[in-house]
Symmetry: C2
Subunit: 331 residues, 2 copies
């Protein structure tokens, strides 16, 4: 075991960056040594005193003082560039969550990390992340069955942003809500066929500009392709005051459910369910990112280089206890 | 990837052995090549035709024809002897479930497997097994919290056996039943302190010998130390016919729930729950044993030797897909 703490840096100080700072304060084996930002460093006020803030462009001069960098930017434009770039010189962790682009991102990060003899974990968090792990274990255990994923009730930042881009909208919050009857049907083990519309409702809280055409806004939301058109969507207009009072948090959650059968005649049914109820989506995601930073550090110590996902890492690497302690206490 | 199938043998043909046979029939990358038994081989009738049955004492002569042996004996007396013995000459998997003795068993199997350059996974199944994995991941993600495990509703074979040993009892079935109010309290995130009695009820169905003293039997069950004395126990006397009709299956299940908080002031709560509803405890356990045999085979191919638990094995090793397929389909 290492006697000094694992030195972690945060790259990007938004919701996830703040969550990582909070999560590290709960891990006695790790410490936050630096925050990097593309904004003016003096404009950043970390919660912890004495956490130095630096310009993102100066990160390379910290090569020997950081064990792992946790990248806290967005998946659309930040991480596809930043993670491969930093993986050349640092061990890194990110929460890249554009499912369709994971293979490409993995390959870019893998090339960089191997070149630099560094270790990276991408797409850590809860989906992709813990939910993905459950899909693998449950499918491996019960190969004959179906896996369902439900998200919510929780705030989707992407859908909230999409509403905000509509003319006449001042602010908005969108909740993804699983359809209870569909959840119940899946939990019963009946393996129903469910369309996109069957699984989730989209519940929108919108603050309109004064005098805006509410009917047009509602129509534009409901007809928006990809985001809303395939769902039953409910639009509620509320005041700015109500939005602040009732919708300022970022709760989320969901369930992965696998239902399948075993036996020579498929006579026995099994339902495996993993569910999350989270008050703060970014803080829970940050918890997994920090555990992944611990895993990355340990792999680098063992000279295991390149890009990894949670599928490639032994579970014990994420936990502060030793394998012996884990076997005697948690097995 | 291997072109031929992974050759698996079953050692012991009880409920788990039959479950493994059924589970292997669902895995196109694996095949059951032999069953070993301490009984007379001609007395064993495998479900699959053409599965040869051999004497357990002849197993060593099959050294070059088997990739992995799945041990299907009991944890009390079979596995502590058999797993280390076979690990000298074969890759092995077992479901050793005496939690307190896992460190000793691990060490015995590890010494043998390393000596023989073989790979072993012990204590695979759902508890120990999938439940243990959830404890590790959830605790690593939310370090500040409590983890609770509830079992049932399901048949406990150990408790059923204990009742059968009482004088005047012809047959018995014991269900472990979680206390709903306690489950609800834990799910609410209130982190209650729960005694053994608060968490589970023991529900017994007993067939008595004709003329037996029912009051004495009920008293002896309820006062039995370790098994029943610390629980609220309900005893129902039923007929042999009712036992056969209503209690012939071996359902089980349960939940691991971690509830904890994040944030600088622990202001955000999170509830992580993993739950199982199983029609057949031995068949589900067998599913995990078979997936573990796949993992053991892959580790041996990579010259990773010694004893492992699920904590030491990357999740992808259990699943038939390649890491690339897993990343694009399940992450």
């Amino acid at each position: 075991m290492k006697e000094s703490k694992i030195k972690v840096a945060v790259y990007g100080y938004g919701n996830i960056g703040r969550g990582v700072e909070a999560a590290l304060s709960k891990c006695p084996d790790m410490e936050l040594v630096a925050i990097f930002t593309r904004r003016d460093p003096t404009s950043i006020k970390p919660r912890g005193n004495n956490i130095p803030v630096f310009r993102a462009c100066d990160v390379l001069s910290f090569k020997d003082r950081i064990d792992v960098i946790i990248l806290c930017g967005g998946s659309a434009t930040d991480l596809p560039v930043q993670t491969p770039e930093l993986a050349l010189d640092f061990c890194v962790v990110d929460s890249f969550d554009t499912h369709a682009k994971i293979p490409e991102h993995f390959s870019n990060v893998d090339i960089a990390a191997k070149k630099g003899r560094k270790t990276a974990i991408i797409s850590s968090g809860w989906d992709p992340g813990l939910f993905s792990l459950i899909r693998v274990y449950a499918e491996a255990t019960v190969p004959n069955g179906e896996t369902y994923t439900f998200w919510g009730r929780g705030v989707s930042q992407g859908h909230s942003d999409a509403i905000r881009r509509i003319e006449g909208v001042k602010d908005a919050r969108q909740y993804t809500v699983p359809v209870q009857q569909s959840l119940d049907a899946v939990r019963s083990g009946s393996n129903p066929s469910l369309s996109v519309r069957d699984k989730h409702i989209r519940e929108c809280y919108v603050v309109a500009e004064e005098g805006a055409d509410l009917e047009r806004i509602e129509r534009e939301i409901k007809e928006m392709p990809n985001y809303f058109a395939d769902y039953n969507t409910v639009v509620n207009f509320i005041s700015e005051e109500e939005l602040r009072r009732d919708h300022s948090k970022l709760p989320h959650g969901g369930s992965v459910i696998r239902s399948g059968s075993t036996g020579f005649e498929d006579e026995n049914n099994h339902v495996v369910e993993f569910s999350l109820k989270l008050d703060s989506n970014p803080e829970f995601t940050s918890g997994m990112l920090v555990a992944s930073a611990r895993a990355v550090y340990r792999m680098q110590e063992e000279e295991i280089y390149g890009c990894k996902t949670l599928f490639d890492v032994p579970p014990s690497y994420f936990h502060p206890m030793t394998p012996e302690q884990l076997r005697s206490k948690l097995l």
